[in-house]
Amino acid sequence: MNEKVKAKVKELLASGRIKGFWGLRTMQGNIGPFLFSSPDDLDELVVGDRERPGDTRYPLNKLLVNLARCYPEEVFGVLVRGCDERGLKTLYSWNQLNPEKVVPVGIACPQELAEACECLKPFPDEFVAGEKAEGSEFVSVANVESLSLESRLEHWLDQFAKCIKCYGCRDICPVCFCKECTLEKDDFIHTGDLPPENPIFHLTRAVHMAGRCIDCGLCNEACPADIPLRTLYKKVADIIDEEFHYRPGYGDPKEKSPLNILGEAPKH
């Protein structure tokens, strides 16, 4: 997998098509995000499969957005899995990135990872490495729905009570790009409390994920309290799909989120 990606990136860098490539690199015995700018650096490029497939993924799109803001004229390449590609498309549709300035290099995730992520589409439209795996249903959502109303509340309150308010779910999120964040507004959610107002803090974030969350799961991995945030946002994505036939990042990037435009009324 690494070699095919390296070859592609080498070609892109050598041709001068891209200024740099956002990928992952083994550095000082750890794996982290890295902006490759020379074909010579590519020896240590990795795709983020350390012990298990996809166990060292980083929000490369987010880093790309931040850099593109400072250098809007430059073209960058970026390593994308299925989720990352959904992220790019969503960022295009919210006008946070210019698609003409981005060259994605795709990889397909193996079945094991697709199932662990419960990913509907574990591959980008185009990819240079890996094989198409089957999409997987949202089992975690169904598990919560099998509980009584009372047990659901108990479950979530119990999970949210662990929140240490690191804002990591937001800070790692590739589609959280707002300049001002409701989560920080004392009028809505009292600042300074630990845990933050339960369940208001997390429900507020969940609502803001509607029409945006691309189900990459990085929030879940960044959560110091192991709160199953991904399950919560998967449900939000299901609701949006059911009401408006829209899933962020699956369709044409020109298509706007139903919560970004007036459009048609919801079904329910």
Partner: protein, 135 residues
């Protein structure tokens, strides 16, 4: 455009979380938790996530200061270092090694703490070295 990610260790509490500092054109602009460091495995607390913010604070000290006529006044390194070493030497000569004392720091590196106590012990000749381990 000079962009780098630098792996380092958080400087807040004693957990010792690994994180990448994003450096753009000489400024630290962001923090990303490292996925493979053993303590934090890709997670951080709110302090860690924002650790880049104080680095470029306008309140940082950027020049040596010497008290002149009662007020702290900017000075060159040459002047400040000579003055510091000179005054410490005078006090040692006049009042003895144990009239000097040193507070090392739980914030600076091991190597720096080592040099502070080495200076106190080997150069000045006192064991009056402590730090806020108790606080």
């Amino acid at each position: 455009m000079d962009y780098r990610t630098v792996l380092t260790t958080c400087a807040y509490c004693g957990c010792g979380c690994g994180l990448y500092l994003e450096v753009l054109d000489g400024r630290v602009v962001n923090t990303i938790p490292c996925k493979t460091t053993p303590v934090n495995e890709g997670k951080l607390c709110v302090k860690g996530w924002n650790i880049h913010e104080f680095i470029h604070s306008p309140n940082r000290l950027t020049r040596p200061l010497i008290r002149k006529n009662g007020a702290l006044t900017e000075a060159s390194w040459e002047e400040a270092l000579d003055y510091t070493a000179g005054r410490l030497w005078e006090i040692k000569e006049k009042h003895g090694s144990d009239s000097l004392a040193f507070l090392a720091s739980a914030k600076v590196t091991n190597e720096e703490n080592y040099l502070i106590q080495k200076f106190a012990r080997a150069a000045v000749g006192t064991n009056n070295v402590d730090h806020c381990a108790r606080l």
